[in-house]
């Protein structure tokens, strides 16, 4: 079951090497994204997750809010 992190945990984990992933459409990522985040829109997750992300490091995903 995926865990939940708050702002502070996110900062700490990213600092320690976690991969931060914005799953919103690419245009929204281009306008604003969190520092160190990469763009992997939900629709491309199935095809690209394995090549884009490292399975040996934690992954944190986010979108606009939890909706």
């Amino acid at each position: 079951m995926p865990g939940e992190v708050d702002r502070e945990e996110l900062r700490r984990m990213v600092e320690a090497g976690a991969q931060l992933v914005e799953v919103l459409p690419e245009e929204e990522y281009a306008e604003d994204h969190l520092p160190r985040a990469i763009s992997l829109p939900l629709r491309r997750l199935d095809d690209e997750a394995s090549t884009t992300l490292d399975r040996n490091r934690p992954v944190i995903v986010y979108c606009w809010d939890s909706a």
Partner: protein, 154 residues
Amino acid sequence: MSPRAAWRLESLGFGDVHEYRGGKLDWMAAGLPTEGTNAKRPRVGRLADTDVPTCRLDDRLGDVRDRTRKQGWDAAVVINSERVVFGLLRAKELDLQADHQVSQAMRPGPSTFRPYVLADEVATYLHDHELENVVITTSDGRLVGLLRKENVSR
């Protein structure tokens, strides 16, 4: 969207997956920096006047008016002890009967904007609604400041 992404990653074999529930909204509402094409455009949180006069529901209107105008303002924000915004007194309300309570005179539940909103979006809103100012609050309703038209149309 992010809950689905987190679960899908797990199903694809990723073992250490987390979700930042607050998302970009929470991050930006906290005033933290972002990167991207919008990052350098001015946002209302930085342009709002944080020294706007404030008052409480049970203050006497005449006292608030005197205090507000003495500070060179034509508006005051009605808040509680937690700085949660209850109402707004613009020039018209400030000029109502001096012995009214603020709660009788204020505009309740004024429209508010979050600090991360782009300044030009609010400038358009102020223009379209013929307003002189608008209240900026955090996502939990606490006062950040008052954004005046002249602050976004410079």
